[in-house]
Structure formats: C-alpha cells, structure tokens
C-alpha cells in the first residue's frame, strides 16, 4: 500500500501531497521536511529507494521534480517506480509534455488525475487511455456547467437591461 505521495521540486518546494494513511498536519510537514532533506541530497546514479522510519520511500526525478511514494517494507519497489512513471505519462499526455509550471498553476488537475490513478493507496487503473478518457469526461462536465452558467447570466443581464 502507498501511504503517501509527494511531489517536491529541486528547491524543496512542495507541489503535491496526497496522504492515504492518517498523518496530522504537524506530522505531515515533518515528514516532508525529513524526506526532502534525504532525497534531494542523493546523487544521481544511486538507487531510487530510501529507507525511512521502517518504511521505504521510492522516488524518481523527472526534470526538476521529485515524485516520491512511501510504501511498506514488503512492497514491490520496482512496481512503485512503474506506478510513478505511469502517473507521469498520464500527466504528460494530459498537459502535452508536462512541466513544473503546469503542475503549479493546475495543481488541482494533477490531483484529479491522481485520484483516477490511485485510491486508498492502491492502483486503480493500468490503462492510461482510460484515465485520460475519465478525466476528460469530468472536465467536459465542468465546462458544460460553466457554459450554462454563462448563458444564464447573459439571459439575466439581457432581461435586466
């Protein structure tokens, strides 16, 4: 099981956090501080796993961003690397070659996508296409609501002219 997902920039800024196990707000910031100290200082050629408080943290760097997932000792580290890559590829498809700025300004989208990939710390979908389709369908629901609201406000504006 994945206990939490962290996206940390090279400078140690948090770009996304998702907690599947209960951590208080205080513990959360402590965890982030500890892990960014451990992970950001590791050299480039080293393995992608660090042992931490009896758990393992699997991380992978993509450009300026570190994607980190915390798992149990007995979980499959190599698979988690694959899950991270899976998520990154979906982000990449959604944003069209994703960069850190996309994830800053559209952080909520990154969360929506993550929610289609993981629930309760477990993988929910292995098809990137399906995830993309589901996110797109929900986005269009929002767009439709937006347009409706626009047209209503136009009608009201015209009526009260």
């Amino acid at each position: 099981m994945i206990h939490f997902v962290l996206l940390i920039s090279r400078q140690g800024k948090v770009r996304l956090t998702k907690w599947y196990s209960p951590y208080t707000q205080k513990e959360r910031s402590k965890v982030i501080r500890e892990l960014s100290g451990m992970i950001l200082t590791r050299g480039p050629k080293l393995c992608n796993f660090v042992e931490w408080r009896g758990f393992k943290v699997v991380y992978k760097r993509y450009a300026s961003l570190y994607f980190c997932m915390c798992i149990n000792q007995e979980d499959n580290e190599l698979e988690v690397l694959e899950i991270i890559h899976h998520y990154v590829e979906i982000l990449d498809r959604y944003f069209g070659s994703v960069c850190e700025l996309d994830l800053i300004f559209n952080f909520h989208k990154a969360y929506y996508i993550l929610d289609e990939v993981l629930i309760a710390g477990e993988l929910q979908e292995s098809s990137k296409k399906t995830v993309a389709r589901l996110v797109a369908a929900q986005d269009s629901l929002v767009e439709a609501a937006k347009e409706e609201a626009n047209s209503i406000s136009n009608i009201i504006a015209q009526a009260t002219k």
Binding site: N76, L78, L123, S127
Partner: protein
C-alpha cells in the same frame, strides 16, 4: 454575476505568490488572500466559494493554516452541481484527515452522492471515502459500497473495490460481506476491475482466515488462468509497458497467488507451471519486467516447496545481484535476506558479491548489504568476513561507521571462536572507530578481558600499543587505562608473553605517562578522567617506587571544578599518602567479573537502576553514574555480605571511596548521619569495595551469604580475598572519631552513636524494624519507629517521635517532610505543637510512606522542622537516608 470570471483569480494569486522575492513578502500575500477568503466565508458567499477553496488548497500546500476552510468543503459537497462537488471533495481530501470531527458531518452527503444518478458524482464520493474514511464512516457506508461493486459502469466498480479495501482495513468485521461480490469481479475482463478486485481479494485474505480458505478453494484455478492469459497475451497497446502486457496486473496476480499458495501444498502445486513460465519468459532488460520477476521470485520463495522453482528463483536473484542497475541490486539484496532462511547455501555462494555491496557508494545498498552480511555470518566464515568488514571500516563514510561498528561488534561477540581473537578484533574496531562504539560494547570487552587470565599480559601490552596510535578514540583510552591500572605490573615486567607477541620494553614511568596524557587530554570526559584517577591509585600500589609521581598527578586534580574528580583526587591522595598499610589491599585486582550475569543484566537493562541502588546514602547525584560504571562496570556481583559487623566507623571508608558521599554535609545533621550507617556499615563498605551492582541482601540473609563468600574465596584461589583484607585492616586503623585529620578532611563526623541494634527478624508479612534515629541536631532529636502492615509490603508506617533535650520549651513546632516522586507520603496531625524541654516530653506524629518502586529503590526523605525558641523562629532541615533498605 458570473462566478467563473472575476475577482483575483486563482491563477493571479499563484502568480503573485511566485513573484514574491522573500518569505516575508509571500506571507503578506497569503495573509491578504486568507483575509479575503475569511471575509467571503463569513458572508456565506456562494459565487466564489469553489475558487476560494482552490486558493486555500494552494495556500495549504505552502504550509499555512487553512482550518477555516474546512466547512466550505462541506458546503460545496452539499451543492447540487458536479463542478462544486468535484472541488469540494478534493478540498475535503486535502484539508482534512480522518481524525477530524468535521468529517462526520460529511457522511450524509457521501451517502446521497453514492446513490446519485451521475456516475462521475458516485465516483467522486467513492474516491473520497476510499482515501479518508474513518471507521465510523466505513461502518455507515459499507452497504452502499457493497452495492456499487455491481454497478453497471466498470469504472465505478473498480473504485468501489478499492473503497472496500479501506473499509475492511478500518472495520475487519465487515470482510465477509465483500467475499461474494468480489468473487464475481474476479471473472471480469476489464483490467481496472480485475486489478482492483485482486487487490481487494488479497486484503480480504489478510484480514479474514475464512476468506482466505474460500478464495483458495474457489478462485485459485481462475486466477492461475488469468495469469496464464496475461503472460501469453498478444500485444495490446493500451496496457503495454516496454513490451510487457500490463505488468501491474501480472504483479497483483503473482501476489495473490503467493497468499493463496503459502502453507497449502495443493494450491502451490497448481501454480507451479505458470510461475515457471513467468520466471523464464519475462524479459529482464526493463524495469517493468524486473518488477514482475522480483514479485515472481518472492512468490516462489513463499509457496510450498518445489525444488526446481527455487533454483530458478535463486538464479534470477544471482542475475539481479550482478546487474549494473542499483535498483535491481537493491531488491536482490532485499530478497536474498528472505531467501537465506530457505536456502542458506545458495545465498552463501554470493557472499563475495554481497560483501562488495557493503562497500557501495549508495547508502541504501550498503545498509541492505550489511544487514544481509550480518545474517550470512556463521562459525565457519566469521574470521574472513570480520576481517573484510574491519578493513572496510577504515575507509568507510563517517555516517556509516556507527552502523558498521555496531554490526561488527555484534558479530564478534556472537560468534568469536576464541577469546584472543575476540580481544584482537575488538581492539581493531576500537582503534578505528572507538568513538562510535557504545558503552555496553567496551564494558563487555572488559568483562571478557578479566575472564581470560592467561591473556591479561598480552591484552595490556596490545592496549599499550593501541593507545599510542589511537589515543584519540575515547573507548580505546578507557579500556587501556582500566587495563593498565589493573595489570600494570604485567605490562612492565612482560609477564605472560605469548609466542606471537613482539617483546616491548615499557618502564613504569612509560605506563604512568600514558595515564597522565589521558587525564590531561582536553577531549577526555569525566568518566575517562575518573577512570584515570582510579588507575593511578591502583598503579601507586603496583609501582611503589613511582608512588610520589603518581601522588603529584593525582594532586593536580584536587582543584578540579568537577566535584567527582576533586573528591576522588583528595581521597586517593589520602590513601596514597597516609594509608600505605591498607592501600595494597584496597587496590587489589578486581575479582573476575561474571560474564553470564553481565550479559544477563544487559538483557534486562537494569544497569542504571541497580547502579543507583547501591549508593548506601541514597543521595543520588548525577556524577554517580560514571563512578558506578567505573568501579563495577555494571557487573552484577552477587552480594558477598559479611556477617553483621559492628564497626560503625568503617563507614568512613565508603565515604573515602566516594560513593554517594556528600561532601557538603558539614551541617549539624552530620552527627545524625553517622548513625544512619549504624548496623549496615559493614555491608556498605564491602559492597563499595566490590562495587556490586545489586542492593545488598537483607540483614537476615547475611549468615547464608557468608558461605557464599567462602566458596568464592575457594573459587578465586586467592589466599586472602581483597574485600576481606580491606575490612580487616580497616578495623584496626580506625581513628577515634573526629580526631583524624582525614576525617576532618572528609566531612568532620560527629561522635559515633551507640552500637547498632541486633539484626531484625523477618516475619511473613508484617515486619518490624528497629527504631532509627532519623535526625539529630543539637538538643533536638527525631526517632522513627517503622512498621509494615501485613499484606502491603509497599506501605511503611512510621511513627515519628521528637524529643528536646535543651532546657527551653519549643513552641509552634511544625514538622514537614518531602519525598521523591516514586514515593507517596501521608502525614497525620502531630500530637502537639509544643515540645517541652529537658527531654521531659515528646511529640509524636504518624506518617505513611508508599514506595511505588518497592524492592528497587529505598525510602529517602527530606525534612524541615520549624519551631519557636523564646519567640525566635528556628528552622532545621535535613535528609533522612538511613532507612532500612528493603522498605
């Protein structure tokens, strides 16, 4: 107004925050935004609610408090539209965790949304429930989730399956409800559903034994077939990852097979073929393939034995271990640790490679490899492996040395074939990384040294050499100083030479030089310096001709600001200067320390408590810890108590040795203090000499321990055991109280009280004790009558009796007492507040003391007595520590 297009937009806020150059600027921007969001919250502004929440989420990620937005999430979730719900649920998952009360309020909205007609809204609710559900919510909403497992859209079914995992983890009782629905999901073709159903299946097996049995019977066959299809499936672009079809699904299938096959030969048999297929057919040039192989190896290791498969698995691990990719090597090491219990021989074959991994540049790999090496060591390979590890210790990273030394020491202690090898290896470790070695390790080393009498000379010479080269390692210095103190004569006279040794010439002054350097080194801490003083005292007797030089060195510490050192040097100086006749007996070689009881005690970790317990005065000082270490090295010597000895003056010796003596106690109570030691002083002296780590036996056992002592004498084959001779010599030179200059030096005892009362009798439960003079000052004296009630050994009843021998009457007499935390004190009203003079009357007062650490700690008490003498306020204070030990 259009809610989607005015005000400061989310984008603008993020931009503004990113434009901030300093943290202060950023805080200002955030504060402004938070203020306007709070205003909007209190205005109950509907139009911007979802945008405000989005902003709050961003602010939350930056680490600012956002609790005021929690209710906004609930309002958005309760709104009818999808966009509001979507952001509301996101906020709920981000800003709240399952422990917040607010969460309970959302249960109803969740229930409605789980029954919504829009499948995406159902999806949102399932996602939120799966990520943050508490046990209560899980219980309330389990029926809805169970129903959704049969929902028409597969994307809802898969979410419901993962949501169920959360539910059964929170409330394992609900597991049985999900067994049947998940069985039908296992037959599906949709990968998402299959993936999540298998995961749910695995978690059900973990929480419920019945579920495991059920799946084992009904589903093993089906799952094996699904895996077979997955392995042999043709290229499917949707699920393909570097040439492998849906590795995620294959990994989960392998995992559930592991659970089903574990401990069940039939099920294991059933999956043999497919596992062999996976192990041989999977490409290992990409991470995805390796992930599958890794999972497959673990499954093969866990299911019931099949020799052929095991060989296959070990071979895969061998390939992994020689892979250039660090990740693969890491998981190989990880898996070899599990494999070692199954096929130790096969793992031993990779020993050389594993040892190389200990020296890897990657800390994660090093750590794994070290753990593995630790498991690999056995009697036959301990020597070469230890040598490798110690060689590596020389060049290893600073931050790895701690781990490495701990493991080496543990290996050496556990598996050393002979003592000389143990001592050699420990010396090497101490020389390389003495500062990383824990105290227990060098304590254990000293215990071993004392036990190998034929190696004393060899050891002390090796240590002498070691301290020349590695004087900067504190542990080396301590062990060397201790051994030179004990075995200095062997060092100088080259006694007990082994054939392998090179002869060295060490003069007495060389040996003293070493200790002088150590005591003067500014890096030496209190313990080391105190040990140096002790060693010097011992050497003063071993090297009589250098006595004067030693005295000079000892004298230099007389001005030390550290009380412990000052006290020791003053006391030792007295012994060296004035008491030659008892010195040699005092500083006899330490009796052999008992290895078994030492290691036993380490296990029980009772070192510190019993260390304090043996301080007879009960005056607990922080500096006592090193002292106790020093004298006894934490060894649990059985109490060799002598027959009750009435030479109460002997207690000055224990002050002399400095155990718990309170130099500053030149107050009027010192007269009283002397009495405290009354009947047990004989024991105390001996105890201190032996520095036993355990409290002395109760007085009634003393007769039996005499025989112990005798047997000990025979064991040690010593004509006259040191403690006794010390005591014997002691009884003669006891100076008349108060007359000796040494006594003045120490604390100027008052006159000695009468002979101690006879040893108390022990009854079954209720015990009586002889009355003690708890406090005496001038004309005022305080007697305690102690008794215990049957059945409650922790509680001591004390009857205090105050008498006044002066010719004046004390009025407004008030007695107060205080005890440490482990005691509880109850004071009853005094019989009177006027104490007549000339001993013609007394005040009595009852006290009740409950000792929560009965048997471990003795009772102590601080008292204060205030009274009026001719209308002048008088105050007396003191400490009572002469309670019988077993109260």
């Amino acid at each position: 107004m259009n809610p989607f297009s005015s005000g400061t937009r989310l984008r603008d806020m993020i931009r503004a925050i990113r434009a901030c150059k300093t943290a202060a600027e950023e805080r200002a921007v955030v504060r402004k935004e938070c203020a306007s969001i709070r205003a909007a919250v209190s205005d109950n502004d509907n139009d911007y609610r979802h945008r405000n929440l989005a902003k709050l989420m961003f602010i939350h990620m930056l680490g600012y408090p956002t609790h005021f937005g929690q209710m906004e999430c609930l309002k958005l979730i309760a709104a009818p539209g999808f966009p509001e719900k979507r952001i509301g649920y996101l906020g709920l998952m981000l800003l709240l965790d399952e422990r917040q009360e607010v969460l309970m309020l959302v249960t109803n909205s969740l229930k409605q949304d789980l029954n919504h007609t829009n499948q995406y809204i159902v999806g949102l609710a399932l996602c939120a429930l799966g990520n943050i559900s508490s046990a209560e919510m899980a219980r309330d909403l389990a029926p809805e989730v169970e129903r959704l497992l049969q929902f028409r859209d597969p994307n809802v079914r898969k979410k419901a399956a993962l949501c169920s995992i959360r539910i059964i983890k929170k409330v394992p009782d609900l597991a049985e409800n999900f067994v049947n629905p998940v069985t039908s999901l296992l037959k599906e073709k949709h990968h998402g559903v299959l993936l999540t159903a298998i995961q749910l299946c695995a978690d059900l097996c973990i929480v419920s034994e019945e579920a495991l049995e059920y799946f084992r019977k009904k589903c093993t066959e089906g799952i094996v077939k699904v895996l077979k299809d997955a392995v042999n499936s043709p290229y499917a672009p949707e699920y393909d990852i570097s040439g492998i079809s849906d590795p995620f699904l294959q990994i989960r299938l392998l995992r559930i097979l592991r659970i089903l096959g574990h401990g069940d030969a039939d099920a294991s048999d059933f999956m043999n073929d497919v596992l062999a297929q996976v192990a041989t057919k999977t490409e290992s040039n990409k991470n995805a393939g390796n992930a599958i192989l890794y999972e497959c190896v673990e499954t093969i290791m866990s299911i019931e034995d099949s020799g052929g498969l095991r060989v296959l698995a070990i071979n895969i691990l061998g390939r992994f271990l020689s892979n250039r990719d660090n990740n693969i090597r890491y998981v190989a090491l990880n898996m070899l640790m599990k494999a070692i219990s199954i096929d130790g021989q096969a793992v031993q074959r990779h020993r050389a490679t594993i040892l190389e991994c200990v020296k890897d540049s990657d800390a994660s790999i090093r750590k794994r490899a070290l753990e593995l090496v630790y498991l690999l060591v056995n009697e036959s390979n301990v020597k070469p492996l230890t040598k490798e590890l110690i060689d590596y210790l020389v060049v290893s990273d600073q931050d790895f040395k701690g781990d490495l030394t701990a493991k080496i020491c543990s290996i050496v202690e556990k598996l050393s074939p002979e003592k000389i090898w143990y001592i050699d290896q420990m010396l090497k470790v101490l020389c390389e990384a003495g500062n990383y070695v824990k105290d227990e390790v060098w304590h254990a080393l000293i215990v071993v040294i004392t036990n190998s009498s034929n190696l004393h000379g060899y050891t002390v010479r090796s240590l002498y050499r070691a301290i020349q080269t590695s004087g900067d390692q504190e542990a080396v210095v301590r062990v060397a100083v201790w051994c030179i103190g004990e075995y200095g004569d062997l060092l100088v006279n080259n006694i007990g030479m082994l054939d392998i040794e090179e002869p060295i010439t060490v003069t007495e002054s060389d040996a003293i030089d070493v200790i002088e350097v150590a005591i003067k080194q500014h890096t030496s801490d209190l313990t080391t310096r105190a040990m140096c003083l002790m060693a010097l005292l011992k050497l003063s007797s071993r090297f009589p001709s250098s006595s004067q030089r030693i005295k000079d060195i000892v004298n230099q510490s007389k001005g030390s600001l550290l009380l412990e050192l000052q006290q020791r040097s003053i006391e030792f100086d007295s012994i060296i200067g004035k008491h030659q006749n008892l010195r040699s007996a005092l500083v006899e070689r330490m009796p052999v320390l008992d290895e078994a009881s030492y290691s036993g005690r380490r296990g029980g970790s009772g070192v510190s408590t019993s260390g304090i317990n043996n301080i007879p005065n009960g005056v607990v000082k922080i500096v006592d810890a090193p002292l106790v270490d020093l004298l006894d090295l934490g060894v649990d010597e059985p109490t060799h108590a002598p027959p009750p000895n009435s030479s109460s003056g002997a207690n000055f010796l224990h002050d002399l040795l400095g155990v718990g003596a309170d130099i500053s106690s030149s107050s009027p109570q010192s007269g009283g203090r002397n009495t405290m030691h009354g009947h047990k002083s004989g024991t105390d002296v001996l105890l201190d000499l032996l520095s036993s780590g355990s409290p002395p036996a109760p007085a009634t056992q003393k007769s039996s321990s005499t025989s112990d002592l005798l047997s000990l004498t025979q064991l040690n084959n010593k004509p006259s055991p040191s403690p006794f001779s010390a005591l014997d010599t002691l009884s003669s030179p006891i100076p008349t109280p108060g007359a000796s200059p040494m006594m003045d030096l120490l604390d100027g005892f008052g006159p000695n009280p009468t002979t101690p009362p006879p040893p108390p009798k022990e009854e079954e439960n209720g015990r009586t004790y002889p009355p003690i003079v708890a406090f005496e000052s001038g004309a005022l004296s305080l007697m305690f009558n102690l008794s215990k009630q049957p059945g409650s050994p922790q509680i001591t009843l004390i009857e205090a009796k105050f008498t006044n021998k002066s010719s004046h009457v004390y009025t407004d007499f008030i007695f107060q007492a205080a005890v440490p935390k482990f005691l509880q004190l109850h004071l009853e009203p005094a019989s009177s507040n006027t104490l007549p003079g000339n001993g013609s009357g007394s005040i009595t007062q009852k006290l009740q003391v409950t000792n929560n650490q009965h048997g471990k700690k003795s009772v102590v008490m601080r008292i204060r007595i205030s009274y009026k003498l001719n209308n002048k306020d008088m105050l007396e204070e003191g400490q009572i520590s002469n309670f019988p030990r077993d109260l």
